[in-house]
Symmetry: D2
Subunit: 337 residues, 4 copies
């Protein structure tokens, strides 16, 4: 059974997912497109066989040819399309963020709870990365004892001038916020944001780097270096320090070069190189799950909790103080079954 | 356009490819099966939608529902099915070896030349491995100057008792023989096989390890440790030593563990773990190529040349002497265009 | 010219230095010993040729056979012996800490300033470690641009029950406090101490691990994981994250083992293994400097500044708040010449 | 008790050892010098306290102020000075080679056997390198099972034009020849030398690289890449492949740099950087042994056996064939006691 997918938003990431489903993965087919820029949707449609362009995302969602919705439009539109998908009773994959505020995410949770079944998956692709999965497996197997600390770094070579300081949290550290919840299987209850010496290569308006600190329910302390103009590469590091040892993402250069007085390995240049394969697996597992009638990926609650933490972190950045995170009560729908 | 594939031989590797095409890749569909054990074919067919079982491989090849043939039957049957595919004018992917002898491979080359177009691809999956591709790219870019030496190791944790010494060359070192030709883009002209101290853990009849040495047209010297009972893991190493540096397959453990006085990374346990992804890419690129009417993978000449070298290496193992390799003239069909 | 050295305090570290000077280094000779436990001094003396035992440290210091003093007695006695050495106009090497409080260290600074010349060296041996020196060299050479962040870990396999929480700062993190000042060549102006989840393997009275955070004059932010019951080894990590890259202490296992599914390197079991060679170089350079009439190692100001920071860190641990460090004005004697 | 040492030959390596004994090590003193170029000896003497210059090496050897002799003159003079030292009944440390031919080495063995006690140590410094010692320890402890193969590389950035092909064996591979005998604790019984593609950067008269192969008594097979114009650094690699695993010299860059798209570690630029510390330990252990009346380092037999193998390897290079090594019977004097 082929899953018929409608895509809302056909910018870079949307086109990537269309290519993925059409040319690299199995079991799914892109049957409908929609974009705020209709011309762009028409253009993208020319390279996808048998696809229909809808004027509005809501039309696409309601179309009876569409089994499942994939939202890759801009963040501010996520809430409306996710709610419409829930209303239509259709499974929906929404790229992160689930919505741009904690409140908006909470509305989605309400809607899904009201619908009485899980329909929403959020695009936190790191959970599908082989190295992160091996990290989680090692922690879960008790290889390092109970986790006590996690040291993370999220380094980007460069960001455009339009990137503002809040994005270091909402768009960049959000990945660590989700991955920590998933890795440790518990909620984050407090956060602090520290401001180190500024990188003189960053835009004048930008605080870069930042150190985002998180505390979990069991008091695990997490430090995250967020550096977005470090030049040398796209480098994501994570080390869990436990009671009896540590486990960290490995160095994974596929080749080692010995030239010019140095032994060296390659560092990825961007997230596409580092996480491209994780996106493949993420979407393939979503399609496979749909075909089998189950959802297993990050859900609306995960999207809500990440938004709650990142909202508080933005506030903490402004105050310089520790901020506690208060989550709403977790609906039963999201308990693991 | 979906490529309709018929599979001959549905043992372990055949089933793997069926699963791959059906559940992990894009653009292909398994429409026909055949196996010397008809019952097995029937059984496998139950889990593949809309598939037809043929009594004989030749029937499957001739079936007009079949666009392309995938041969995963036992090695001795390869020649007949590849020749039949050529006769039917159908693209055929044949798992290595192309055929069990240099002569049989040469017949296939003759048939393909007579047909006047390339139809055959051989399953040398290492050419699709990301690390080997990065190695080739570094060499081709002149990162280490002209290559002078290559050091390889092909280590298996264990082989069954039925594994005999010749298989260390025909089935194991054959991968290095192909990869060296591809990596250096030249033919192998001589070989030697040396017998180190025996591993006492190997079957009594088995010479293990061996060191297979190869010389290329430009005098690059290659040493290959073939160890098939080394216990610790499935470990494939390759370092090219050039005029100004070296480049080697990297250490690629996805996580690093620091416990019990050691910092450690994981080594794969088998070829499935190490090369599973390469198989995916190999078959996907084959299907993509078929859809676009082109073949780009290892061809019949590559299968022939690898067989010629491995035949000579088996002889060299027996005599203990250096053996020269004499290839037939290379038909124009196989010149890169 | 042989430097004649008197040693005050002949416990483990004192005996180590005696052995070092007598059997491994050049240019120095142990001529006098003193210990609060006279019997222990007599016993140690039996294995040192031509050595004299003094009843009191002050006698040893005043002895005209003694050119230079090496203090390895317990921390509380450091102040009196260092002051006595200064009063006697003799060069003195004092194991860390210079003294147990910021005030005591300040008295030493006063005395040395009054004496008008530098006599005091403090035993911060990491400055003599080849890896830390290479780290400093890379930073100083601008290999990573201006430093913005430093991530440290100081991990001990285990501490005795007598080890109390303050010692995690005064005795353990003190090494990072000094090394950061030296590495970045600036003072620390503030500190915070965070308390992660406790290691259940630690003594009931102990907060372990801690995260000590430091801020420097130029706003470099430093995080230090101090884990003293982590079991797996003695592991000291340090990574400087700069404007254009990072540089870190390397992995330095002398051999790599590939067994049992893992590729692994050894982690030291204790500070003796990790820093034994640094101690050799530290004492050799001290002796060489004495012979040439110069002191180049960490001085009384360094001892004072480290004590000032660690005193504040202990307070910060108690309050949970950020604490600023106020150093006295730096006497001209300690400006680099 | 200070060991009084006389040095014959005060070129670069001689001066290095003089500096070492005088300024870095303990227990020895340079009391006498001699050099074929008397002026050079006089000049070096000006920087060594209380040292006497002898016109002839033999005078120095006979001088009653000299307890032990250190020979760092040119290779052709080694035999005469070692024999003179034996005749004088004095311990002698001779830089490698013990003598330039197998026969000359054999005369030294005869002389020492006639003298009835061990006096000679040969300067194979790798046995004192921490990494090689850890390698031997791992092998001896059975960490990888019985050794079956050893893969070595001895890479130099560059050699002067005066370096001829035979030196790749006599001066370069000689270190691997000795280290293999020591590491595996058995003799080498055959050798082969293979000639890969030439490095175009080498002098026109030079065959570079070479692959030297060795077989031991228990049939362990050793391959040694000798590359002496590889440019990128001084790089010594060694991996022992055993029945259940492998152990190799580690990557030991003291720092790891992450800049410009790569994670990199430093490779030494020359043998001084790589083995400087091993020389220190070698000479210190020699002096310590002399003070205690024992010799534990590589002895005359080791010098003889290495010469016998390298002589045969030079012949094998010329013939292109496997050459067997026939050692004389090993005198009882050299059995381990």
């Amino acid at each position: 059974m082929t899953v018929r997918i409608g895509v809302i938003g056909v910018g870079m990431i949307g086109q990537e997912h269309i290519r993925r489903v059409t040319h690299a993965l199995s079991g799914g087919r892109i049957v409908a497109l929609s974009d705020v820029d209709r011309g762009r949707a028409e253009k993208v449609a020319t390279s996808v066989p048998d696809v229909r362009v809808h004027a509005a995302g809501e039309d696409l969602i309601r179309s009876k040819d569409v089994d499942a919705v994939l939202i890759t439009s801009s963040g501010q539109t996520h809430e409306q399309y996710v709610l419409a998908s829930i209303a239509a009773g259709k499974p929906v994959f929404c790229e992160k963020p689930l919505a741009t505020t904690e409140d908006a995410c909470s509305h989605i949770v309400d809607a899904e709870v009201a619908a009485g079944r899980r329909l929403v998956q959020v695009g936190f692709m790191r959970r599908y990365d082989g190295a992160y999965r091996a990290l989680k497996e090692a922690v879960a197997a008790g290889r390092v004892g109970a986790p006590l600390l996690v040291h993370c770094a999220h380094r980007n070579p460069k960001v455009p001038d339009g990137y503002v300081t809040e994005m270091a949290i909402h768009d960049t550290a959000i990945h660590e916020i989700d991955v920590i919840r998933w890795l440790l299987d518990e909620e984050i209850i407090a956060t602090r944001v520290l401001r180190p010496r500024r990188n003189s290569r960053a835009s004048a308006h930008l605080l870069d780097p930042l150190v985002v600190m998180l505390e979990t329910e069991s008091a695990v302390l997490v430090d995250i270096e967020v550096s977005v103009n470090i030049g040398y590469g796209y480098d994501v590091r994570c080390e869990v320090s436990g009671e009896t040892g540590t486990v960290a993402l490995g160095e994974t250069s596929s080749v080692t070069l010995r030239v010019g007085g140095a032994s060296s390995g390659r560092i990825p240049t961007g997230w596409q190189e580092r996480f491209g394969r994780a996106y493949d697996i993420e979407i393939q597992e979503w399609i496979d799950g749909l075909a089998q009638g189950r959802l297993s990926g990050p859900n609306a609650w995960d999207g809500y909790a990440a938004a709650a933490v990142s909202d508080r972190a933005v506030r903490a950045l402004k105050t310089g103080e520790r901020a506690t995170v208060s989550l709403r009560e977790k609906p039963e729908l999201y308990e693991v079954r």
